[in-house]
Symmetry: D2
Subunit: 284 residues, 4 copies
Amino acid sequence: MDPNYRLIISCPDQVGIVAAVSDFIAKHQGWITEAHQFADPESQWFFMRYVVRADSLPFGIEEFKARFAPIAERFAMHWEINDTAVRKRVVLMASKQAHCLSDILYRWRSGELLFDIPCVISNHDDLRGYVAWHGIPYHHFPVDLPDKREHFAAVSAQIAASNADAVVLARYMQILPPDMCEAHPGRIINIHHSFLPSFVGAKPYHQAAERGVKLVGATCHYVTSELDAGPIIEQDVARVNHHNSADDMVRLGKDVEKTVLARGLRYHLEDRVLVHGNKTIVFA
Amino acid sequence: MDPNYRLIISCPDQVGIVAAVSDFIAKHQGWITEAHQFADPESQWFFMRYVVRADSLPFGIEEFKARFAPIAERFAMHWEINDTAVRKRVVLMASKQAHCLSDILYRWRSGELLFDIPCVISNHDDLRGYVAWHGIPYHHFPVDLPDKREHFAAVSAQIAASNADAVVLARYMQILPPDMCEAHPGRIINIHHSFLPSFVGAKPYHQAAERGVKLVGATCHYVTSELDAGPIIEQDVARVNHHNSADDMVRLGKDVEKTVLARGLRYHLEDRVLVHGNKTIVFA
Amino acid sequence: MDPNYRLIISCPDQVGIVAAVSDFIAKHQGWITEAHQFADPESQWFFMRYVVRADSLPFGIEEFKARFAPIAERFAMHWEINDTAVRKRVVLMASKQAHCLSDILYRWRSGELLFDIPCVISNHDDLRGYVAWHGIPYHHFPVDLPDKREHFAAVSAQIAASNADAVVLARYMQILPPDMCEAHPGRIINIHHSFLPSFVGAKPYHQAAERGVKLVGATCHYVTSELDAGPIIEQDVARVNHHNSADDMVRLGKDVEKTVLARGLRYHLEDRVLVHGNKTIVFA
Amino acid sequence: MDPNYRLIISCPDQVGIVAAVSDFIAKHQGWITEAHQFADPESQWFFMRYVVRADSLPFGIEEFKARFAPIAERFAMHWEINDTAVRKRVVLMASKQAHCLSDILYRWRSGELLFDIPCVISNHDDLRGYVAWHGIPYHHFPVDLPDKREHFAAVSAQIAASNADAVVLARYMQILPPDMCEAHPGRIINIHHSFLPSFVGAKPYHQAAERGVKLVGATCHYVTSELDAGPIIEQDVARVNHHNSADDMVRLGKDVEKTVLARGLRYHLEDRVLVHGNKTIVFA
């Protein structure tokens, strides 16, 4: 894959944004290979994602940033530009269940998903051997402590030490403290089961089975301080029927979880997810 | 279609049920064309649906009932046997939106779904002309009354006068009073939108759009006195994305609603839905 | 809905297209409410669809065309601009089966789909009454003639007389002659069943049932002189199982057909489908 | 999981089959936990699958076989009874791509799928390390030989030496010789991509992209001597659009392939797939 720059912009909508951006790129002979735009009539906010071939431009990413800054300022843009040659660093967090972790590690080692894994963090030691085979550091931080804050302090320190761009909760099964969520807005990706309708309280799959639901699903979202209420990146469902016990639904739900998480992670790695308030614009 | 008898049974699970039923049918040379059974390990309850060719038996449905009664008694069965030559009578109730009603009327007049429609009941007069073209009586009972109970009294009287086997709420948009729900257990079919997660309160589609959901769905269920919490017959979803406004989601939701309602109605008409507590066994 | 202009462009890809187009619109204070672009790396061809609020521009559509022409010429664009206030005229063609026709007519009369229906053409008289109720002219051109060319001559004449922008084959069940297909490139929309794998020859549903397929589908495509091989607009599938007879599969297939055709028609009416060779770019 | 016996029967349909089988089980106090039956009106053939709790019967599986034999003979049954305590032995065959193999190995080591893997056979050495980590023997039989028959002779010998109940072609990418297919009817499971419509010849994904297909799928089937035309066990699809290159479609197809293969393998391991001619009855 030739190196590309991904230019991600969100700003208040007004006349001339596309003209200004595309003119800037065109006058420097920039070759746009992907372009997505969206003007949200509700929020009157504008979003765009351009992918430009790095070798088509007469300058590097730093000079791009310097030259583009005035345009960004004029339109009050929230913006970033990323070099696809620089892989994102993603810390994976898991517990005992390996369905999501195994699926992500396959996509990583097969080169299907391009990113670096500085380490895997878990509150159990069960998956150490499997992770170790991949040559990835494994950190076991027990959670059964008098004060859970010690656990999350250790986790946060490790994430910081890993110089991570993002964190994936691959069925980590622990609720992150609000301050940790707020410290990484749009950077912590979670996957959890979903139902129509949703079932609150314990053993949701058993409630779903008792209600005779015909679909079980999964939602991949960014973590916010409000539990499981963050911006949704991707969702999908699988059919179930009365022959499926609650355990069957858990199993079928796992397949949806790992597929949806993998899609959500890909969108994040490719800078396809823009967040505005609690809404996501996913340029899939 | 040759006339068939549909034998529907649910009872506490124990050894010998299938043997007793199938032996009874076999010794009278009954030809079984469809057979579904399910033993629910949770509730320890047993469910079965047999379809027997009427002309393969030496007697009619009344004698079948008389001869089968002792077996039913021995196993404490809840049971019924229906003659496919006798069409169910289904009252359709609608409001102003016609997407579900039009779809059901097409399936009725094309013979795709076999049932009788004694009348359509609505709290508005908008759909009279369309229903009248089909030669179906249309009853308009206004709901803007000092006391809504008058409305529901008129509706209940009409349903009774129609000698209806079932009622379909094809987007009727009114909450039935508990006593009316309890008067027709497993006989009133409703369709409503569903989301993952579900959104409580007003304008759910707008909430869903604000949250950036990627799926909108619909649930077809039997009405109980607990609002939208009855046994689920069928569900499905459609994909949406950030380009879809709340209005788009409503439109896409309508397509799911009419498809899911049509499937649910078919299952009901063909005696494929067995209810136990709040769970459905759907022998689809 | 406020009147909008839809600008549809396809041309050889090169630097500066978006800049030129967006600059033209911006300098006239044009408000872009929707924007889609796609550069196909395979064909090196560029596609875009802009929706601009008519009242944001200082001139009407004719002056827009005149002023934009030089840009179009510079980039060798195939282009058109449509006023959403001007409804497309779509002739519907059907045979005896009404599932697609009924669904489209519902969406038309409910205002879900905005277009005009100059007439319905059929090779049978069966659906006259239903169409007539909608106040739409119904033309019955029998097909059992010594020379089928007479039939198609009459059909073509009616389409011409109807001043139609598009034709929808809503299960018309007749193969159009090549010259008629070539006379309306990207203007005749067809729906047909599809399978994985596909089954050639007669009674495909029976072949599918014999093979034990688990999915039946439908494909909406533009008609070309090569039978059922035109550019694909939309597709979907429904699950089937061994309980489903070939007739059941036909019925389930019908539900997919009407849903997929309705989606395809919507994309066409909203100028969302761009065709390049045998490939479609659908800005859904 | 308590040990169960799975009784699988197919025979010409006639009155009394269910009565005879269920009476036999009932009179020995057999507890039926799962029951599926299907009478195919097309072929006039009958299929059933009963799961009976082993500890509810007064005798073991051998005596069951001896006592049941007369009933089987009376109805000319093709039948088998399997003890769930005895795991099936499944040889996995792969090439260089690991998406299906990795997914199956996860389900195996996590205990989600209960079976034994005597060995993995490949025509390349690439996956040796990964398989070895699981403690599973890995046999590399090169295929680039003057005579491919040598390769298949070695493969067949290894399968025989492995005392395998089944073989899974997890993207093995080689066409098995007819005699090898015929030696293991209903015992070799393959997964391959599928499209609507299907594309013959080389590079099907590129053809699909050129045609603008909106769905890519996968089919899991039993291998027969007719290439990719064996009885279908399971199928599914994933949506694609014009943004997806042929390579993207390959990637999205892989996700469908591994999910569909895993489902198909589960159905096979649980004796849920009955084959009659080229049709499958899947008691899912």
